[in-house]
């Protein structure tokens, strides 16, 4: 990381942490959900850099959420860290298996197949009484390494949990982007054939990206489930995936931080629009998406900096 970036990231994190003590609960709750969803967006960015757009990322989001609800309920686990870990890993595990199929697809076919897979989960959940059917399930109140806060304290504790997880994820994904496997995303998007003939397995590179992004989405879903206290099949519906894609396009693939900023902006505008002009929410959403695609093809992040490949490591 370039020094300037490091300072910016550090101060953003500090500001977010300080905000946790100062801002009213409703803003903290909103930010908690936004950052949890930001993890999903970060996962979509991982794929998007390689040219893949998934319309079914809600599959992993939902998996993460339901995993938390189920092991909390039946496994008696209450520790938030453990719950989130299991949520993320179960999504990653599923994606590892599905990945053998999915990694063969590109472009619109990739988008559609991932959509179909998420709709399978949706269909299953809706029809399964023991998983709460359309009503979904409630999620237990978590503890934090033995600490068991309630009400406002719980809200703040969850916020910090999300903050820590997001910061860790951001650091790791940032490191991944700078590694060979991460940086090859652009060559893969540009010309798979060449990558293959240079000696690297494209399907393995892509499979890795799928698992990483599912891990992130599952973690995000787990955190969102804890924050909301409830999961339902709509977490897996295609419109949920659509919203994540929307934020991703808005944020652009340029930087890791864009995922969280984009998600925060999205949640804020949504809660504002829901309160003020509920009938125009989707018009607003659609127009912004349209304008972004037409005029800022690299996402809003591109206003700040354009995507450069390994820019920071510019050779002497």
């Amino acid at each position: 990381m370039v020094r300037g970036d490091r300072i910016a990231a550090g101060s953003a994190f500090l500001a977010a942490a300080v905000a946790g003590f100062m801002l009213p609960d409703w803003i903290i709750s909103l930010a908690t959900i936004a950052f949890a969803n930001g993890l999903v967006v970060l996962g979509l960015i991982v794929m998007w850099r390689a040219g893949l757009v998934s319309f079914g990322q809600a599959l992993y989001y939902c998996m993460g959420g339901y995993a938390v609800a189920l092991i909390g309920r039946w496994g008696g686990v209450t520790d938030a860290f453990l719950l989130v870990l299991v949520g993320g890993l179960s999504a990653a595990g599923i994606s590892f298996v599905i990945g053998f199929l999915l990694a063969r697809y590109r472009e619109i076919f990739f988008a559609m197949l991932s959509l179909a897979l998420s709709m399978i989960l949706y269909g299953l959940l809706v029809k399964t009484e023991s998983l709460g059917s359309t009503d979904g399930l409630n999620v237990i109140v978590p503890t934090f390494l033995g600490y068991a806060p309630h009400q406002e304290k719980l809200i703040v504790a969850l916020y910090f949990l999300v903050l820590v997880v997001c910061a860790t994820a951001a650091l790791l994904v940032g490191a991944y982007f700078r590694s060979l496997a991460g940086a090859l995303a652009i060559p893969v998007r540009d010309n798979e054939l060449r990558v293959e003939f240079l000696g690297m397995s494209v399907s393995r590179l892509i499979h890795t990206k799928l698992v990483i992004s599912a891990l992130l989405a599952g973690t995000g879903g787990a955190l969102a489930a804890l924050a909301v206290g409830h999961v339902d099949p709509n977490m897996s519906y295609w419109t949920t995936s659509g919203e994540f894609v929307f934020i991703t396009i808005l944020a652009g693939a340029g930087s890791v931080g864009a995922a969280f900023v984009g998600s925060l902006a999205f949640e804020s505008v949504r809660s504002f629009a829901f309160a003020m002009l509920p009938q125009l929410w989707e018009i607003l959403l659609g127009s912004v998406l349209l304008l972004t695609i037409l005029f800022l093809p690299q996402g809003l992040g591109s206003l700040i900096e354009r995507l450069h490949w390994g820019r920071e490591a510019k050779a002497p």
Binding site: G123, E282, L294
Partner: protein
């Protein structure tokens, strides 16, 4: 025996419905390589338009046959207007960009149109049951079938025949085939690809709206119908092979029969059987039943 017959009839009715909504989608993809999410909006507009108009019409006590005509004509008109607005106003600016980007643009249009529906028709739901009632029922053995359902099968069959004939034997159809086969060469031979695009998009939109209008009497016309239809139509088209008319036909039949069978035999899995079939087909034939992958020559 009765069961098998019921499954068959139910399956055919459902397949007819799926084919009608899928054909516009596959046409647009085949010619323009656009996965048109706004197809769900065309469907919604057709359904709302037909439902509200039919309600008014039948309440006046006008002749019943005219009601059917009204539904169809109104839907086509709505499709025409919407299709033109979208194609001329938005789509043409993104031709040539990534297929995924074009799909996202139609997604944006879809989001906008969802709210436009509320602005025009309000948040309440509409029931256009009159055409269904006035069509009446028919008894075959112990089964009671709705004439409207049987009519649906006939309409789908006619559409399929018309598409087949249109593509094979009309001038425009041959132009389309040429563009589908090879866009650059078609353009080089003096085919005006722009016009072909506009016409195709509008026809696709009209078919989508028509699907909505025809389905309106059978469903509660309410918010969110477009959302469901669009993923169903995607599944059908993906099974058959995107852009293939025969594919849409086969996909609709497969999905229709599979769904009818599960509804009768294992109602619990009804919703996801469609997507499971789709995932299964794609595993074996990645580009659908009627489309072959083109190996890349180097």
């Amino acid at each position: 025996m009765l069961n098998a017959f019921a499954v068959l009839i139910d399956g055919l009715v459902y397949a007819a419905y799926l084919f009608i909504v899928a054909i516009g989608l596959t046409l647009i993809f085949g010619v323009m390589k656009i996965l048109n999410v706004a197809h769900g909006s065309f469907f919604t507009f057709g359904a709302y338009g037909a439902a509200s108009a039919v309600g008014i019409y039948f309440n006046r006590g006008l002749p019943e046959a005219g009601g059917y005509l009204l539904m169809v004509v109104l839907a086509m008109a709505l499709g025409l207007v919407l299709g033109l607005i979208l194609e001329r106003g938005i789509m043409r600016w993104v031709y040539g960009r990534d297929e995924v980007v074009m799909a996202l643009v139609t997604y944006a249009a879809f989001l906008i149109l969802e709210d436009v529906v509320i602005l025009i028709w309000g948040p309440g739901s509409y029931a256009a049951y009159q055409p269904l009632l006035s069509a009446g029922n028919i008894e075959i053995g112990e089964l009671i079938l709705s004439n409207y359902d049987l009519g649906l099968i006939a309409v789908a069959a006619m559409l399929a025949a018309a598409c087949y004939w249109g593509l094979k034997f009309t001038r425009y159809g041959r132009l389309l085939t040429a563009v589908i086969f090879d866009r650059e060469t078609a353009a080089a031979f003096g085919i005006n690809v722009r016009v072909v695009y506009t016409v195709t998009f509008v026809i696709g939109a009209m078919l989508g709206a028509l699907g909505g209008a025809i389905m309106a009497p059978k469903i509660a016309v309410t918010l969110g119908i477009g959302v469901e239809v669009i993923v169903l139509a995607f599944a059908v088209v993906a099974i058959g092979g995107m852009g293939s008319i025969e594919g849409a036909f086969a996909g609709a039949l497969i999905v229709g029969i599979c769904r009818a069978a599960t509804v009768h035999l294992f109602p619990q899995v009804e919703l996801f059987v469609i997507y499971a079939v789709m995932a299964l087909v794609l595993m074996i034939r990645p580009y659908g039943l009627f489309v072959r992958a083109q190996p890349r020559k180097i």
